[in-house]
Symmetry: C2
Subunit: 201 residues, 2 copies
């Protein structure tokens, strides 16, 4: 019996997946959580063989949870299941020690198969996505540029961002400018879109 932990914030999705996985003879869902912060505690209690993690969740992201799981529960294989096949997400998932990376677009049948393959030690990654991740390259943004861009993405003015990050306005403008330059875009909005699209935020 393969013991699976399921981390997914959308109730209907989580319920449907749990039900669906429960139909498999060799799979048992031993824990369900809807908040990123609950992943590790639940895993320590339930000791799953495979953790199926969404990335976008309340609390910490599935990527952060994956990294912590690798340290605290190395026997548990992590399988990322996400809506967006962003290159940067895949890269970060691999760095966090994930064994597999699935997008929610694919057919449901893939899921149980991926769980079995991951448990067997195989890596499960969509080849198209892997190619995209490699061709896109790692994020060109420095930590600060990323922070500033993220802080400005919601419509905050330069003054807002400066206050929130304890920087001078000049500094904020400079970081935004270089982020815009590195992303090859024309303004902060396009830069933020681009960075988000690539999974750099």
């Amino acid at each position: 019996m393969i013991k699976v932990l399921l981390a997914e914030d959308q109730g209907m999705m989580r319920g449907a997946l749990a039900l669906l996985l429960g139909l498999e003879d060799d799979i048992e869902v031993v824990a369900q959580v809807s908040d990123g912060d609950d992943v590790v505690p639940a895993a320590l209690r339930a000791r799953p063989d495979v953790a199926l993690l969404d990335i976008e969740m309340p609390g910490r992201s599935g990527l952060d949870a994956a990294a912590e799981l690798r340290d605290r529960l190395p026997r548990c294989r992590v399988l990322i299941l996400t809506t967006f096949g962003r290159p940067g997400y895949l890269r970060r998932a691999m760095e966090a020690g994930a064994y597999g990376f699935l997008v929610k677009d694919g057919p449901v049948e893939e899921l149980a198969a991926a769980i079995r393959r991951v448990l067997a030690g195989e890596r499960v990654i969509d080849p198209t996505l892997a190619a995209a991740a490699l061709s896109t390259g790692p994020s060109p943004l420095t930590d600060r540029e990323r922070d500033v861009l993220a802080a400005a993405a919601d419509g905050s003015t330069v003054a807002d961002v400066a206050a929130r990050l304890h920087l001078s306005e000049s500094t904020v403008r400079n970081y935004l400018s270089s982020a815009i330059g590195k992303t090859g875009t024309r303004n902060r909005i396009e830069a933020a879109r681009q960075a988000r699209h690539n999974g750099w935020l």
Copy 2:
């Protein structure tokens, strides 16, 4: 046997829901589509009793599809199933003749129950959401303001928007300014966020 059409672009979600609904004794999924433009043709072929529609899809939105279904297949009850409980979405769903409005956050058990209730002529709406929709009020934006704001939301400059909508730059600036004023925000980014959040785009 209740015949259900399922329109949802995310493969895994669609597959899981179909499987799940298939487990119910009195429900049969007679059609599945992943593109908004396929909804009406598929419905005309399969003649479902209930259409379960996502809003955000490639092709036309589930709301538009709902409106067309009401005209072309009035016997078919529409049930909207969406990720975001935006007040404007609910409002538009009702105007498009939908019988129910579910958010994907809720438990899966709700789904089959909602289908049966909708078919019985009942309306299915989350009370909290209904209250939010009423308190938020209808969109204050005129059609043009909405178009311009939507066109500017992706980082396009005023010149881009003007060219795309065949307007003068001055006009675009004026519409943006009034949209910003009406949403009570400070710039186009906040205005777009606000409008999107309320389901006004």
